[in-house]
């Protein structure tokens, strides 16, 4: 009962503190707002980039063509097994020469041309093929070499020089975006910590009076922590609302894709996750900021 009563009192004091130091609370939470707004925008950007690059990378595949003298079932089984044994390969799909032929013929729009090609069905010039998907686009080159060395493989195709460049660029873009988000998060923590420190420094006398009437350190700290959490929460509301609104608006306006090439991540459930992340950052930053600074001011006097 005692603990419950105390807990309730700390929560109440925390709310009262926000209310009675309203100006300070607003200025602290607006620092949270501004940084979380940046974090949120960057988060939306990098996440979209992440998804886009992943979809590009996963569409990067290698085609390995089987030589004409290895088209019997035994050889194909052996090649399949050897392919699957290579590390970094996510999928191996077999496509018979008939499939390849059909695919080629059907990819032509022209009726006459298609009929002309049909003459070659009996004497199919295509190879049996394996379409190989990769776990990670950076493995492209090494996997390609390994496949070329498998007996019975006639030739191996990837997208050529351009594929390598694209893979490199995407990796860099992602790395850069991630680093930027991280750096911004750290900046946010620092900024908010500083603002909260100022808020609490104006109340160091208050902290000392509390100690002088017999309040233990933990007892003094608790309402300040509740206050910090509330300030963090308050500060995360505006960025969440703003980003949700803008993102949904943009998504509708652009009909879900950018430059006709990149697909945007749909607003739900993405925005819910983001709201959760921003709120969590706000709460953690508010909590840490007030914890560190209250502890500091508790030590000023005995």
């Amino acid at each position: 009962m005692r603990i419950l009563r105390r807990f309730g009192r700390h929560i109440k004091e925390g709310f009262l503190g926000v209310g009675r130091h309203f100006g300070m609370s607003v200025s602290s939470s607006s620092a949270v707002t501004i940084t979380l707004l940046l974090v949120g925008v960057l988060l939306a950007l990098t996440y979209n980039l992440q998804i886009a690059t992943q979809s590009i990378e996963s569409s990067i595949s290698i085609s390995a063509l089987v030589s004409y003298d290895a088209e019997d079932e035994d050889h194909l089984k052996r090649i399949t097994a050897e392919l699957e044994a290579i590390e970094g390969i996510s999928s191996v799909t077999y496509s018979s020469k008939e499939d390849e032929f059909n695919y080629y013929v059907n990819s032509n729009q022209d009726e006459d041309l298609r009929e002309f090609y049909e003459n070659y069905r009996e004497d199919n010039p295509f190879h049996d093929a394996f379409i190989i998907g990769l776990d990670d686009a950076s493995l492209l080159e090494s996997v390609k070499t390994k496949i070329t060395n498998i007996p019975g493989i006639d030739s191996v195709y990837d997208g050529g020089e351009n594929t390598y460049t694209l893979v490199g660029v995407l990796a860099n873009v992602r790395l850069f975006g991630g680093a930027l988000v991280l750096a911004l998060c750290l900046l946010a923590i620092y900024l908010v910590y500083n603002t909260i420190k100022i808020t609490i420094s104006s109340r160091k006398d208050e902290i000392w009076i509390m100690r002088s009437v017999g309040a233990k350190n933990g007892y003094i700290r608790a309402p300040f922590l509740v206050e910090g959490i509330l300030i963090g929460l308050m500060g995360s509301l505006v960025p969440i609302a703003l980003i949700s609104f803008l993102y949904t608006y943009l998504y509708r306006k652009l009909e879900g894709n950018l430059f006709g090439a990149f697909f945007l991540v749909p607003p739900t459930p993405f925005l819910f996750y983001m709201a959760g992340i921003l709120m969590a950052i706000g709460v953690v930053v508010g909590f840490l900021g007030s914890y560190i600074s209250v502890c500091k001011y508790l030590r000023v006097r005995r």
């Binding site: 009563r5 503190g17 009675r20 100690r211 002088s212 009437v213 017999g214 233990k216 030590r299 005995r302």
Partner: protein, 227 residues
């Protein structure tokens, strides 16, 4: 109740605030501590409420060795003593009622008991009608009374008042001392008043300890006077 043995205190800037002080104060006593500015009165209070640690010697209050207290234990010790500070030190964003209640919440007083006692002490110090006012809405004398109410709310064994009449006119000063006498008598609280107001010492004669340059220069029983 209070026993100080050979206590000395020198501040970092080299000021010798107290030199080899020894004194005994018994339970239920009413004592004035007088002396000019810089005589060591404030340092004496700080040693007693645990804000400063003596460089040497012993400070025992109600069975606690105050100089040896850990930082986290200091507040627990302070629950035994009520201190009325010169500049009142009320929490600015709390009403008179809440200020007094805070000192009692800290020791987990049940709610109804707390309300009853807060009303009781506010009535005792004669500011019951100001319970819902914030400190900046109160006069100096009223703030002083609230500070006294807060100091005695938990029925401390000792009440220390630093210049309780410092900012008040003679009539108000007289009232405050009468109030402290009442607390001394009715609650049996040991009372220590630091003052340089010779009028109140003359009108309400008690034991008086005089400090000068960090030394005890006189310790006079009731009614005595110096100079």
């Amino acid at each position: 109740m209070i026993s100080i043995q050979n206590a000395s205190k020198t501040y970092k800037n080299g000021t010798h605030a107290l030199s080899n002080i020894s004194l005994e104060i018994k339970e239920g006593e009413f004592v004035y501590i007088v002396g000019p500015t810089g005589s060591g009165k404030s340092t004496l209070i700080k040693l007693l409420d645990g804000e400063e640690v003596p460089d040497s010697g012993l400070v025992m209050v109600a069975g606690t060795n105050v100089g040896k207290l850990r930082h986290s234990k200091v507040p627990l010790y302070r629950r035994n003593i009520g201190v009325v500070f010169q500049n009142y030190r009320l929490l600015p964003r709390k009403t008179a009622f809440e200020n007094v209640a805070y000192a009692m919440e800290v020791v987990d007083t049940p709610k109804d008991q707390l309300r009853k006692r807060v009303r009781e002490v506010l009535k005792l110090v004669d500011v019951a009608d100001k319970s819902n006012s914030f400190p900046d809405q109160l006069s100096g004398g009223q703030q002083q009374r609230v500070a006294i109410a807060r100091a005695i709310a938990n029925k401390p064994k000792i009440l220390i008042a630093d210049e309780p009449t410092g900012n008040l006119d003679p009539k108000k000063s007289d009232e405050i001392i009468r109030l402290l006498e009442k607390i001394n008598k009715e609650e049996g609280t040991t009372i220590l008043i630091v003052t340089h107001d010779s009028t109140i010492v003359k009108h309400h004669p008690k034991r008086m300890i005089a400090l000068d340059s960090g030394h005890i220069v006189a310790d006079l029983a009731k009614g005595g006077s110096i100079g």
